[in-house]
Symmetry: D2
Amino acid sequence: MIRTVEQYLESLRDGRVIYCLGEKVKDVTAHPILRRNVKEGAMDWVVTNDPQRRDLFVTKNETGEEVHFTWTMPKTVDDLLHRRRVHLEGCRYGGSGLHAMGADAIAAARILADKQDKKLGTHYTERMESYIKYIQRDDLGLNLAMTDVKGDRSVHPSKQIQHQDFFVRVVDRQKDGIVVRGAKYHISMTTSANEMIVMPSRNHAEADKDYAVYFATPLNAKGITLICTEPEIRSLYKEETAWDYPDCAMTGPYFGEAMVVFDDVFVPWERVFMCGEWQFTRDAAYLFSAYHRLFAATRMIISLEDLTGLAALMAEYNGLEKYSHVRDKLAWLVQLTESVKALSEAACKSPEQEPDSDIIFPNKMLINIAKSMYAENFHEATKHAQDICGGIVVDPPTYKDWANPELKPYLDKYLAGKAGVPTEHRLRAIRLLKDVTGWQHGAHEIHGEGSLAAQKMMIYTAADFERYKAGAKRTAGIPGWEKDPYFGSVPDDEPLLESKMPPVDTTYKI
Amino acid sequence: MIRTVEQYLESLRDGRVIYCLGEKVKDVTAHPILRRNVKEGAMDWVVTNDPQRRDLFVTKNETGEEVHFTWTMPKTVDDLLHRRRVHLEGCRYGGSGLHAMGADAIAAARILADKQDKKLGTHYTERMESYIKYIQRDDLGLNLAMTDVKGDRSVHPSKQIQHQDFFVRVVDRQKDGIVVRGAKYHISMTTSANEMIVMPSRNHAEADKDYAVYFATPLNAKGITLICTEPEIRSLYKEETAWDYPDCAMTGPYFGEAMVVFDDVFVPWERVFMCGEWQFTRDAAYLFSAYHRLFAATRMIISLEDLTGLAALMAEYNGLEKYSHVRDKLAWLVQLTESVKALSEAACKSPEQEPDSDIIFPNKMLINIAKSMYAENFHEATKHAQDICGGIVVDPPTYKDWANPELKPYLDKYLAGKAGVPTEHRLRAIRLLKDVTGWQHGAHEIHGEGSLAAQKMMIYTAADFERYKAGAKRTAGIPGWEKDPYFGSVPDDEPLLESKMPPVDTTYKI
Amino acid sequence: MIRTVEQYLESLRDGRVIYCLGEKVKDVTAHPILRRNVKEGAMDWVVTNDPQRRDLFVTKNETGEEVHFTWTMPKTVDDLLHRRRVHLEGCRYGGSGLHAMGADAIAAARILADKQDKKLGTHYTERMESYIKYIQRDDLGLNLAMTDVKGDRSVHPSKQIQHQDFFVRVVDRQKDGIVVRGAKYHISMTTSANEMIVMPSRNHAEADKDYAVYFATPLNAKGITLICTEPEIRSLYKEETAWDYPDCAMTGPYFGEAMVVFDDVFVPWERVFMCGEWQFTRDAAYLFSAYHRLFAATRMIISLEDLTGLAALMAEYNGLEKYSHVRDKLAWLVQLTESVKALSEAACKSPEQEPDSDIIFPNKMLINIAKSMYAENFHEATKHAQDICGGIVVDPPTYKDWANPELKPYLDKYLAGKAGVPTEHRLRAIRLLKDVTGWQHGAHEIHGEGSLAAQKMMIYTAADFERYKAGAKRTAGIPGWEKDPYFGSVPDDEPLLESKMPPVDTTYKI
Amino acid sequence: MIRTVEQYLESLRDGRVIYCLGEKVKDVTAHPILRRNVKEGAMDWVVTNDPQRRDLFVTKNETGEEVHFTWTMPKTVDDLLHRRRVHLEGCRYGGSGLHAMGADAIAAARILADKQDKKLGTHYTERMESYIKYIQRDDLGLNLAMTDVKGDRSVHPSKQIQHQDFFVRVVDRQKDGIVVRGAKYHISMTTSANEMIVMPSRNHAEADKDYAVYFATPLNAKGITLICTEPEIRSLYKEETAWDYPDCAMTGPYFGEAMVVFDDVFVPWERVFMCGEWQFTRDAAYLFSAYHRLFAATRMIISLEDLTGLAALMAEYNGLEKYSHVRDKLAWLVQLTESVKALSEAACKSPEQEPDSDIIFPNKMLINIAKSMYAENFHEATKHAQDICGGIVVDPPTYKDWANPELKPYLDKYLAGKAGVPTEHRLRAIRLLKDVTGWQHGAHEIHGEGSLAAQKMMIYTAADFERYKAGAKRTAGIPGWEKDPYFGSVPDDEPLLESKMPPVDTTYKI
């Protein structure tokens, strides 16, 4: 089934316990901050209901039912490339979150079920198949809870001193299901998901087997409390910030991030996909992350394309396109952007699979490199973009300044760049660059008290290159250093010494 | 004279035209956002009026009058080191801004006056002396306007297409003074200064001599409009954000940054220190920046000490202190911190001066290196600190979450780190780290979809080191590669070929 | 035709004028230094004559004749991937040079011929087809001369002051052919090639159209003088250096690099593929480099695999495998290795082609990124490998030391690493690492006077982390800094100041 | 006493057992390779005997005797700065090695003697005083042996599997002295020193107390075998290499590096400065390295000045001085050079000392940072210098090529750079750059198959910046993306979705 947007929105009014900035939320769809994340979620139903894009996002399952493409298991390179395109286009439309990490966790769990069953004689495959059918039939939106709160990082879960709940664990095994306790942190899309997959965040040893638990749960289950993260800018929901934060304004408080508390939550057996099988926790992490890094490295393409585009735009608007050091920086940004793009595609084209399984997943090495290349270089990338933009990336005017008719003429006149570019365009580009590269502090640290380029030029100018050159000439035996005040005075004792040395003994076999 | 805090505060109610978020400001000292910057300014009078700190901040001028130390010209290494200490302690107390860039511009102008008079027979030295006495007598707070709005960066000021006001210039020379027009950007401490020094932001050629203008003006002069930058977080002035943004909450909207518009402002001749002497614009920039990079590199020490301290604290709170890669990162942070510290001190110990001048300034090379080292590495430094902190630096709970009695027990229990560390302490450290290193976006890019360390580990694990080693062994002639599926099958044709080659001709003189 | 090894060797005794270390060379195949490069060339005939490898290296042309695969034009992705595999395997066998740059220049010239003919009505296509048939029929080995000696880099070829021959140019156009003059630098495989393709090294403007010249010539043509580069180590050809320089010993004086002087050399029209068509010089560079970067990025895979393998081997031999900072470095090396591998493959999978042409070439963006990623990071890679190896990479014993029965017991005993690893194996790995990562000077700069790790540890130990932490605590509002000697004494004036400030005016619309 | 050069040279003919390239050495002063290192040593006596430089290098001890300055203990900042100048000038004259590491080890041992005596009641101070007087009186040249061969790095000395001699240790305590066994590696100036100080290379625990041994020994002591490292280029001693390797030709096989084997060597008690006091091994390392990093960071100044000078020279010779990316690289090199210089000076100006000791040593933190900054960045520095130099750094012609009258005209004509620069000067600069930055392999990896700059330019050119810009414009709300083939087709569903959302609930307290 493919639900309508209205059906999806209605489904979120399910009594879930949710807090934002310390206040209890009555209806997420109307909440001034959280509705932005709801819109991100809802976008998935906008696209699936658009006849022109149905081919990409919707497919048919074995029984001929229309289902979202990500609820099917990838079995060919084309499936993986299709999945990558679904992520890519979904993200560009501002959605995709409810068919990303949850879908990745399901694919991983499906492979894992098979492995467990074969090795231990369990019956997880059947459960998984049935759960996937349920998701497909009801067209639910899923998210995923993996990261535990961890406590002391150097101590195993069951050895933690304050309590043993730093990792989600099974505290009771009952006839109909299990009872879980713990807390998961920075769980994306929590506000707008229907159900959540919960999985272990690390590999556990046998002593910690109660922490080896993998399950699904509706978000309104008794005992679940959702504590949302704060918004990036508290008044972003107001009209008056119009183009101030174009990126933040599109996503919810950072992708609907929340802390999820499990205060003895009951989970029926049919939604439990691992319970004590500690031997498979390592595989769980590997399999999930192989899929999920693909989503990451796809989302990051958009982030990098925007950043590279903005830097190129600012080089143009500022009249800097001809300078070779600016071109060097732009080439560097392109290199990063296109590498992540190519590596994520290469990971799909060289997939892996478990023995005896027909489900494939992206190449673990390549997909991890794609993401690592991005994360390692992102800060450097923002530095280059901020450098090209100039100091105004720290403190551009706001929409409220622009909207004031007394100030607008000043801003319009003075903040213009290259002739022919409307000042408003330049300001919008700067606002977006500020929004995606940073925060005032960081950018200020580059530009405050003079730009990076200013220091470089001062260092270049303050350098006594003639002296450096004289030294080099002397060492290389090039004339021209003799009149240098210092090097000209360094005596050449070599000849004197040579005359005191015995002659070379040439009988050695060298 | 040394004014009281009250006198200083009263002096800001002078009718200046100032806007914040598009709204006209009635009284800066009471404005919810700008008063934070006023407090930064006022702190300079708190310290000078404290008997225990008077020795550091207050000195006597030639006529025996008590004056702020920065209004005296440095003539010895000790003077420069004292100036550095005034900046350092002033910044630690949360002040110093009104005796930094303005004082730096005055020292530069004073040296410049001498140079101009000697070369051109002008009488600037007299004017400067008189202006300095006035500042000392009235104990004013000064800031400095240097950066012009610039327009197209590849075009000279008088050749800009839209208009010729992208750099501040003299539009009229009258009997009693001059009339200036233009706009300066990201001018710090504008909200809280009494007067402002205005100077050229680049070296100008003769064709642009109207842009060679250096002067002082009160901030309430007719024709000046101040457009303040937005606050980092719009509701920071509210109690409810208590420990959410400890760094931002201390400074005004980034150091009182503003755009300053000069709409045909009159400046009397006694406050004009350069007017058309384009030959000296290059010197103006060099001299000012030598002093001002010292302030920068001093303020940055505090920034780096905090950052390194926070990273060390989080390593401790998270239980990560023993890991060698964490130690590597901490050592790197220490190296950066202590280098900037040592280089800024070294710049004072190897000062420079103009011929025939007894006023000294920090070593241009060293002080620029100090600042450049900071700015080039700051983004990398934040990456390391965020890496050690963990993903929670993206989305820590807010004070409002903590203040809610229903949520606090959950947060207290689950967000604990190493045993013995109160959760509130850990959260406060994380909030400060978030505040100084970044914005959610940037930190998220490191941690989203799995930490950097997670990818590194995956790459390490996915690597077929046996195969890499086999290849290396084969090349190095070490046995052990023969059974490698690939390298074992690469044939060794060398011997076969050697037998076909003619023997070596040993008659060459090699 | 596929020649025998003997036929190939014989073909090099063709009277070419060649110098090595200032001495004229009589027979390259017997020259103590140059014969190493001859062996590199000859290896291409060893592999093509080996029945087991013929499928990879030999194909059939349109007329059913057996020819080396690289003499055919790639028209499908599989062709490009096959070409990549030919390069990869050829390099592993220590050959491939005579079917690399020359083959790349031919493919580029073939596409270019078509472009020129269509645009200008020339008849280059016919000539190219005929030249390719000749190469295929006689089974020649080709190299390529591109880089000119350049003179002053900021001056155009025809505007150079000393003379106009810094770039190869046409000095005469005759009935049967042209006469060329100039010199090309660091031309690989010169010693062992049969013919050489010569092409422009930059895009030329109309004023420089005599420099737009692209042709083929035998290396024994009248007027050509070849000046070979020096060997890496002068006595490498002697037995006594056995395992001292395993990498250098395999290749000739760096890949047969030479300076090629054209002292008015005649080239018949049938071997001229461009002569004055300056408009196409840019395309020439782009097309050639698209193919040739593929060869580069393939050869580099082997270089990186060896380097990563050696680093992993040394980590094992030294007993360092468990340390997290060593694992970090190994993961970094793997990331670089596998990225170059994946990007060069991706470049083949997303090929480009000119309009109306059926010949494809590697994706320009991706293949340049592959090579740039390698070149930008190679120095850093050697640093990491040297760091893991330890200081002995600077000064390992030589084979002559090892061969001396008085010294061997000492070396064997003392230079052992982890138990179970023969000392000789460790020494061989170190010798190879020294050979491929560097030179004594560079490695010495890392290890001399104490390793990098030693300084890091000293910095870590010398750091007063308690003081850093105290500062951070104070700023974050965490107790525990009060007893710090410094921070405990920094007063908190904030409350005092707050009491002097007017209350917040809450009427603003913020 | 200050010996003559002749006395020094004679003193080396003392029967020491020394091997070079596997051959036993009869007289080091006449050995074709090792005499270069002897000359390095002898230079110390050339300078001390030169009346004009005596003031710097020679001082008087308490008894009025003339002694080399480094044999006195530093007690003031001026002493440390003087010591730094002695190192600096000594290195510039090509000497200083016999008054560097040995002198550093003596100063460290002297402080340590005091500490040990106070804590344990030993009598080392007396012995040290007496040993220092002996050195002063006989005017000996000393070196230092610290680094052990180590074996498995993860195993303690006495737990090593193969044998327990991987670290030098006491194997017998006799009435008159001790017997030591083991081997030290890469010990500088071994060829040319009179005596050697031997000290522990790491801190040892009580179980390893036999390894806590610190002593002096003449180099001809029975049981000592010296195995010299190979020369950088084997035929360097021949005339025919004239200007080929100006740097290598000045120093011996890398600074006289050798492996020193102790085959049960007897050391009399008067030369034993630690024997079993394992508690002080950590201090030994810290104290020695504080002094020795000062020598390192001084020697490195010269290395960096040469490198920066060469890069600036090549920028000039190649006509590249005006390009902004070349200026960026030069500024980076200057920054590194001047930072190391300033930090090493700062370390002298903020010295440290042990409680109750009047001997000072360089600031541990700063001097380690100085050296670490160099070692961490040296590879990057060589990359920049090689990039500016161009590919010819890989394969410049040799002196033998230049000396051949048939080749010289070609080389002179074609390898010229900017007009006015003799070709020979350019070649000498390139030869020196090759010599100090590297080896052919590494430089080749940057330049082979096209320079770094070439790839950057290709990436820049291949980039579809219009598309990147269109994406950025769309996100920023700037018109101009509507006609982009891709972004123009991405629909804007936002308005549609907004109409389906419930209105904002404005009752929240946000």
